[in-house]
């Protein structure tokens, strides 16, 4: 019984442990440059938990991260390393802006914006899928290139086609009929959070409770067995990319129709950049499971929100949190962090004895 509970909790413990390693690594680097780590962490965490505003902002920031985290998580379940959420999200955001140029009734406009975002995200993942299936090109390379192409294509579209005639620094705003209502006054939290959580649950259902999801997971775990069982591997890869692209596209659309006060995308993409890359870390900490991803997204968003307060009150540059996040992921790469020492020592012992021997 106890061992069963332990086996279930093990991934959670590992994630928490990696989080602690990350915070320790961050503290060391802060101390190296003469910043006060304890004051910094104090500011960081009190900002998130200390006020309704901090809490609301954290949930608002977690919203897109849940979805971009899902993109990566679905990919891993299907045997892919899809790091293209960034570009797919850009495309979703632009599609949502484009839909706002057309007049529509209230409810329908929201639905159309969301569908347009998901469609754009899914379409932008297709070249990577096609290259993977037809040419065997690793998706890490193709999706990264597509991210950069999406960034520059997006900047062109936002400036030259969807630009706000009054304010050159941003695109036109989402039409009032397409905007999601707020959930917590005084913060940027809107019903976008609910949409993201519902999508996460839908993904859980599709990937764990349907035949398609079963096939995706078999291909992810053991492509040989999948082939032997008559599963169409190419179809499964394609489905994995499409589901992931839909999640990222939805993240982009929600950043437009559910993100006050501007409900727009900026010409420098400042409100959307890195949300896709952060999703990778979110998925890894959330163990590539939809429920884990939701909690990991809140954790990541908390770090990002707290970072601003940390910069103001403790004077530590807010980019510090990216260093911490990097250390967390590196720590997660090592399996069974808890058994690190016992795993490392036999190899080292062998080595030392050989060096001594020779």
């Amino acid at each position: 019984m106890i061992t069963q509970i332990y086996a279930k909790l093990k991934p959670v413990i590992n994630s928490v442990l990696a989080g602690l390693v990350g915070l320790a690594g961050g503290a060391i680097i802060m101390a190296l440059w003469g910043y006060p780590p304890i004051a910094a962490y104090n500011a960081l965490f009190s900002a998130v938990a200390g006020s309704m505003y901090g809490f609301g902002s954290t949930l608002a920031q977690a919203t897109p991260l849940i979805l971009t985290g899902l993109t990566f998580a679905i990919g891993v379940r299907g045997g892919l390393f899809n790091i293209g959420a960034e570009g797919q999200m850009f495309m979703g955001a632009i599609a949502a802006v484009a839909v706002s140029t057309v007049a529509m009734p209230v409810g329908i406009h929201i639905v159309v914006s969301i569908l347009a975002g998901m469609l754009a995200g899914a379409l932008w993942s297709m070249p990577a899928s096609a290259l993977k299936i037809s040419r065997g090109i690793h998706e890490v390379i193709s999706t990264i290139m597509l991210n950069w192409i999406a960034l520059y294509l997006g900047m062109y579209l936002v400036v030259d086609w969807l630009g706000d005639p009054q304010r050159a620094e941003k695109s036109i705003s989402a039409a009032s009929t397409a905007r999601l209502p707020g959930m917590l006054s005084g913060t940027s939290l809107t019903f976008a959070l609910i949409a993201a959580v519902i999508f996460a649950l839908l993904i859980y259902f599709v990937v764990w409770k349907t035949t398609l999801g079963f096939e995706i997971r078999v291909v992810g775990k053991n492509p040989g067995a999948a082939n032997y069982a008559g599963i169409n591997e190419n179809f499964s890869i394609n489905s994995t990319f499409i589901l992931g692209g839909m999640a990222a596209g939805l993240a982009g659309a929600l950043q437009i129709i559910g993100h006050p006060p501007t409900f727009a995308i900026y010409a420098d993409f400042s409100t959307v950049r890195n949300l896709g890359f952060d999703g990778i870390g979110v998925a890894l900490i959330g163990r590539n499971h939809p429920i884990g991803v939701i909690f990991a997204a809140i954790f990541f968003a908390g770090l990002n929100v707290g970072a601003r307060t940390m910069q103001i009150t403790a004077g530590v540059p807010l980019e510090m949190v990216r260093v911490i996040q990097g250390v967390i992921i590196i720590a997660l790469a090592a399996p069974e962090l808890m058994n690190l020492w016992s795993r490392l020592t036999p190899g080292l012992k062998n080595w030392i004895s050989e060096v001594k021997g020779s």
């Binding site: 192409i149 540059p317 996040q325 990097g326 992921i329 590196i330 090592a334 795993r343 490392l344």
Partner: protein, 302 residues
Amino acid sequence: MDILTSFLKILIISLNAMVPITLAAVGEIIGERSGVIDIGLEGILLISAFVGTIGAQSTGSPYVGLVVGIVVGLLIGVIHGIISVYLKGDQVISGVGINLFGGGLMAFGLIAVWSTPGHHVVPSSVRMPKIATPFGGISYIMIITLLIVAGVYYILNRTKLGLKINISGEHPRAADVAGVNVERVRFFSTVVGAGLAGFGGAFMAVDWFGVLTKDLAAGRGFIALATVVFSKLNPLLALLGGFIFGFFDSLGVWVSSAPVIKQVIPWQFILMTPYVVTLLAVAGAIGRARFPDKLGEPYKRE
């Protein structure tokens, strides 16, 4: 005449732009041949550029900066090697972490060390001297890169050490039976590979650009990964690939100084070219790249 001058100018920028991509790609080839994949090249480029610049400025010597950059690369290789080879961890996740860490460290360091959120200009006193030509300076490191490419090609294809590296990636069990220490070969291949990427990072800081920004690497680490695919793990073809990508990279730099072209083609499309070309080159490379059989899989002795 004017066209010829422009062409020669682009050619020289391309030769410099070739260096970081080629060094990172050739390093990656060594690691991948031994069976270890390292997608953290982007992060290594950034970390080495950052720490290398600190080394150069605190000693007043660009050579120290280069050495520091290489050492930092080697150290990251040690971390990645321990996780991938000895802990049997997930190599791709470790690489993602290195990239995230590198991006954060550069952004953090620009503010922490030089109090600038934007860009830090490396003083010309700690920049590498260049071979002067009428069309722009060529870096000495470009020459060194050619030698490294030739050396790595020779080692991988003509020596016993190269045989050990290749068999560790292709058939680790057979290597083990034949008395090769697979873990050690993989570990050192990873470390040396990361060191070459570190060399490329330091080159960007104290030689080529001389400016540090958050986006200094600008996807070059990933373009290097694409170059590895394009080259089918052959260092000589990686040099060619590095030159092609460097050419399109520098085309953007050159066009941005030619306002006539900017009026015809939006600047966003010019900046997009290296990435589009990379995608097309990888897609159009003749025949599939064949990777070592056990690439990315930890070797566990029975």
